[in-house]
Subunit: 306 residues, 2 copies
């Protein structure tokens, strides 16, 4: 089943202890679609500027990602510059230039309208909501957000949450959104805002899945690990890649069962771990399904005692 | 098989968001032995002062823990006061009074000498070494340490590490000991100092097991989760309780296989999770094997996708 994703397609300048890359292809929708493309059809809604070239578009096309919803506007593409010199777990943002995203009016191309799955990547909740409203009949909607929207755009974000089946956010964000420092209590409070399922990403420690119904393990359904990596070259996009693996796997299943959610968590961790191995989207551009399944099995060995 | 453990038996004054307790029974050897006592025979080597009462001793006796190696000295017992008001993951230490531990000369009671397992809980590495040297023939030696010994008593600690089969420390400690912020690289460096196996405890995110030989998953053998807790009443002793569950389970096995290590990690997480549910050792004093096995199964459900 096809996924439509709305979110940023951007240029990133990134500095990590492993080096520096100027203006490489980035953006939440980019990482998400590359990761999800190994599991199912993906269609992107975004806006780029006149600086967006054929080489960048080819990255999507090589992975058979539908780019008819990537609008070209006068001006420059979204640009982000950040570094991880002191702490690989948290980016220090130096520059965020919204550029063409500032006036973006998302439109759904006709051929996207039969998508059964919708992913609202991390952008302005007003844009997330507009896309959600234009696709009322999708089967499953998942989304992401970040501290900036939680702090300064709470009412708009709360509206988005009402329309979500699954929210994927990190530790700091779930605690900030709930105003509660206990993970279990914060998860319950956030699910009361709308989403029936919640994935809390713990960076190098993996992620926890919560379901509103049928809670076990104090409300937690599954804790998936992250792969301990010998070298984290660039953690940019790891969370979006997790979301792509998670939602891509779900969308490819004939039935969305609790067991499918559990396996989806592992595929999320798998794609997140690949993302960190090279700068930008380099690693996600050239994976094989065999590599993905081998890593999936490694994750199983890393967690299963029998 | 019996475990001999050397470490602190102490009084703790603890403040957490859930309340405050004055001078409750504490100390690394106390938490360790209570947790391990659900799996195997435990014998304690420690020193206490004249303030150590019958009620405290009864806590050990009720769990059939051998206290003949707990020496009584003139003066006061080890005392620690700390709080977790801002951060449940890290204690803020207000007072550490070594008292009778300052002049402690550990002696091994004759009936302890046939112990096949030895645990060197977190105390001065000079004391750990003295006990290790008096028990050269044990089958398996595990130990713990902390930032203070790593920073200011490194040469003595390095001597202890040479004699260890398993070291159990936390994230910050392994990175500090190795001088390397990458977990995989730090683990490898620490195992090169002696221990063939290393357990790195991640607090609320669980723990990772590394083996020097036969590494898989970038050197990590198993990642065990921690149970997301609705309320962490008091995290004091969670790491020592993890060690007690881990080593207690290992000591009770007919053979120490890689599979036994993997299950031991889960029993460590189980005992660590119980420790946090009440103040001090309250919860560890009155568990049943049935409760322990139910929680073990919950951990399995929380991690296994099939």
């Amino acid at each position: 089943m096809a996924i439509t994703v709305v979110g940023s397609v951007a240029y990133d300048t990134i500095e990590t202890p492993a080096g520096r890359r100027e203006r490489c292809l980035g953006g939440a929708a980019t990482y998400f679609s590359l990761a999800a493309s190994y599991f199912t059809d993906v269609r992107v809604i975004a806006v780029v500027g006149e600086d967006f070239g054929k080489r960048q578009e080819a990255v999507f096309r090589t992975r058979n990602i539908d780019t008819r919803g990537i609008e070209r506007a006068a001006g420059k593409s979204f640009f982000w510059e950040g570094s991880y010199l002191d702490n690989l777990n948290e980016a220090k943002t130096h520059i965020t230039d919204l550029n063409v995203f500032a006036a973006f009016e998302p439109k759904i191309p006709e051929p996207y309208r039969d998508s059964e799955f919708l992913f609202l990547a991390n952008i302005d909740p007003l844009l997330q909501r507009r896309v959600r409203e234009q696709m009322p009949d999708v089967r499953l909607v998942a989304g992401d957000t970040m501290n900036y929207w939680i702090k300064d755009h709470r009412p708009a974000l709360l509206e988005v949450l009402k329309g979500l089946d699954v929210l994927l956010i990190n530790d700091t964000e779930v605690r900030m959104l709930a105003g509660n420092s206990n993970l279990v209590q914060a998860a319950r409070a956030v699910m009361a805002m709308g989403p029936g399922s919640l994935v809390v990403k713990h960076g190098e420690y993996g992620a926890t899945l919560f379901h509103k119904s049928a809670p076990k393990g104090n409300g937690a359904e599954l804790r998936a690990p992250a792969l301990p990596l010998e070298e984290v070259v660039d953690p940019t996009g790891a969370g979006d890649s997790f979301a792509g693996g998670f939602f891509g796997y779900l969308a490819a299943q004939p039935e969305i069962t609790p067991a499918a959610y559990r396996r989806a968590m592992f595929y999320g961790s798998v794609m997140g771990s690949f993302a960190c191995e090279r700068f930008g989207t380099e690693r996600l551009q050239q994976l094989s399904r065999k590599e993905i399944d081998e890593r999936f099995n490694l994750f199983r060995e890393l967690t299963h005692i029998d």
